[in-house]
Symmetry: C2
Subunit: 426 residues, 2 copies
């Protein structure tokens, strides 16, 4: 079975909005061995929608579409599909019941204008929506000898995600036989070209069923090892052998094999060694704390953070001396080290990380250009504490630099925790 | 002129990566009146690439493709296009010069293996890359009577963005005659259905050249008013009239007309009234501080932030009394109010905002379920300070709740500043 994804919405074509839904759907389909051959975005317009539906249904077994199921006038997907198949829209009893329940959960009656949200194409399978109002549906189409399916889901990410996980994936999982395995290999602190150089021999010797892809992102590059086959054990084995070969060559830069983020990896290491972390941020402005606390359960190890943007607050909250700022400048290794040390002492944490730098676009100088960041790490040790700092240089816009500074700071925490031996990637 | 966008890359089809490039390109083309009819994502595979190129070139005047120009083996775009057109790849002198300069700027000689990055399709216009190694190109194709263009750019966002702004947009801007105007109308604190209800009369009376789209996102909904026409002044006038009509009905919820984010709007108000802000975050974990400091120049008004995840840190850094936490619980309006007040006093800021809540997935109770947040605002006034707090309820995952909590907190800051009369949307 091959799938195509169709994202419907003028907002995606005019660039107001990034298409995160397609990535989610593709990833979920990959999990049940259904590869995605194409993703198409088209306008909120009945002719365009019907045209793209026919084209995709002529190539793929499963076509999954999101968007255009809402209650407003620019929502035209259901009508376009019904007309394409020459079918009627009928009210689903279950969808109506869910709709009434959704409103009563918010203490309101169902507005008559929204009752239309419970209508689905006749002959289709309802994909229930328990967290929103638009009904999803799986529409069987094509000849009986070559059954095809059109899946319609709302464009609101949380609603689509719930529908995929609860209904759509189980529905197609029962109908798929291929095995497809993706293993992300996540690196930090190395660029695409250097990484490719390290693993050239692995690429030269890739087994037939396995592909290797590079995913550069703002703060680094990840690899994905994809293996396809018919037999689950053989696929797992071949995939694992390639991942192991990569770890042998570039393991020093790999913080996770699998879906873990850098903050999850760091969090797992902190939790595993019962350590608590505190953060002192200048140029990253709270981003490191925010990433660390994105992880469920982070309250077990995240103690506190301070965002000391002004020199004044660096002195007040972290005890950095005015003389030190005067002598070395706010963006300097001594200040980063002192920030980390002050943060450690003020919070009582076991490890503290600090950033001070110039995200830009202005504020740079010849000696300290935009993109410069000093990162400090302080650790509690038996006889007190020890702190160190390093300077790094990034080449991006303000937001890219912030992301890269935060990534580098989390990497320094990861490296420091690794020295304790608390965990290589599993 | 109509455009289509092609995103090349297996990583986009397997869901490892969200397609942000297409959104950027669409938005930039909109700025010069070139609408995008379709966005297609296809695999890193020569047959698929050539097929999608032909299809798109049969429909659109300009086809812009990203990805597959890097130095690794999964980069096959240039070869696919050259074969499709039956053309050779030739080295561009300028691209070679830039490539050498890029490496020497990093203190390294050009590796011979990367020299291939300076090759472009014969007869095409080089799109120079000053921040990376892959050369972009504009390939003229089609008959002379109906000139079409294929634009190839790398998939690394910063490189593609630089190419679009410096070379591609100026190239096509000189060749476009249509006028297309998008005006975002950005709201906060209102859902799609309620907003649609408020502006139903505006939608009923939309002039012929104007469309209205709803862009729901994690923390709210934006509108986009799009007007097309041939004459710039008439388009601007019609578009402005619709925006004004929306403001008349729903202006209370509109924080910006245009591209400003909520943090930029708040930042402009703070800067305009020479006020300084401080932030005390529990459940938002640094996200509010990070958003405020995403804005260039925010050091002028952002004083400091604290992330007080533990009760201990709420007491130590913000002076919240243990008795108050004991009596009301950490997630309560009195504690939120005290956090904001403590943050104001400790920092010397003019306004402080605080959050304490339960992002989930665990930690909720019947009285205070996951998704509950208390937001405090404290303001310096002539005879001391005044503080207040409110409780809000969201219905999402941990990350969605964090985003919505932060949005609500920034909204409360915006509302508080508005009471001073420091600015409705322009």
């Amino acid at each position: 079975m091959i799938a195509e994804i169709i994202s419907i919405g003028d907002e995606l074509l005019k660039g107001g909005k990034v298409n995160t839904n397609a990535a989610f759907i593709a990833s979920a389909l990959g999990g049940i061995g259904v590869p995605v051959a194409r993703i198409v975005t088209c306008a909120d317009e009945e002719g365009a929608i019907a045209g793209v539906f026919s084209e995709s249904l002529s190539r793929a077994d499963i076509v999954l579409a999101t968007g255009g199921l809402g209650p407003t006038r620019d929502d035209r997907t259901k009508k376009a599909a019904a007309e394409l198949f020459g079918k009627l829209l009928v009210e689903s009893d279950e969808a109506y019941r869910l709709l009434v329940a959704w409103f009563s959960g918010r203490g309101r009656p169902l507005p008559e204008t929204l009752r239309e949200q419970a209508m689905i194409i006749e002959g289709s399978v309802l994909v229930p929506n328990t967290i929103g109002t638009a009904s999803g549906m799986i529409v069987p189409c094509g000849e009986r000898s070559q059954q095809r399916y059109l899946v319609l889901m709302p464009g609101v990410p949380a609603e689509m995600e719930m529908m995929m996980l609860k209904t759509v994936i189980p529905f197609f999982s029962a109908r798929s036989s291929a095995v497809l395995l993706h293993t992300p290999v996540k690196t930090v602190g190395i660029g695409e070209t250097m990484l490719a150089g390290l693993i050239v021999e692995v690429e030269d010797a890739l087994p037939g069923g396995t592909k290797l892809a590079y995913l550069p992102h703002t703060a680094g590059v990840d690899l994905v090892v994809t293996t396809t086959g018919c037999e689950s054990e053989a696929v797992r084995h071949e995939n694992r052998a390639v991942v192991d070969a990569i770890l042998l060559k570039a393991g020093h830069f790999v913080y996770a094999t699998g879906d873990a983020t850098l903050e999850e990896t760091v969090g797992r290491m902190l939790a595993g060694s019962s350590m608590r972390i505190a953060v002192a941020e200048s140029c990253t402005g709270g981003l490191i704390a925010s990433r660390l606390t994105d992880v469920p359960g982070s309250s077990a190890y995240f103690l506190q953070g301070v965002v000391t943007y002004s020199n004044e607050s660096k002195m007040r909250l972290l005890g950095v001396s005015p003389a030190m700022i005067e002598q070395y400048g706010a963006v300097s290794e001594p200040v980063a080290e002192e920030m980390a040390r002050g943060c450690l002492l003020a919070s009582g944490a076991d490890i503290a990380v600090s950033t001070t730098g110039i995200a830009g676009p202005s504020g740079g100088s010849e000696k300290k250009p935009v993109g410069t960041v000093c990162i400090g790490i302080a650790r509690k040790v038996t006889d007190g504490e020890r702190a160190k700092a390093g300077t790094y240089r990034m080449y991006g816009t303000r937001l890219q630099n912030k992301l890269r500074f935060a990534e580098a700071a989390l990497r320094e925490v990861w490296k420091s925790l690794q020295e304790d031996g608390s965990g290589r990637p599993a």
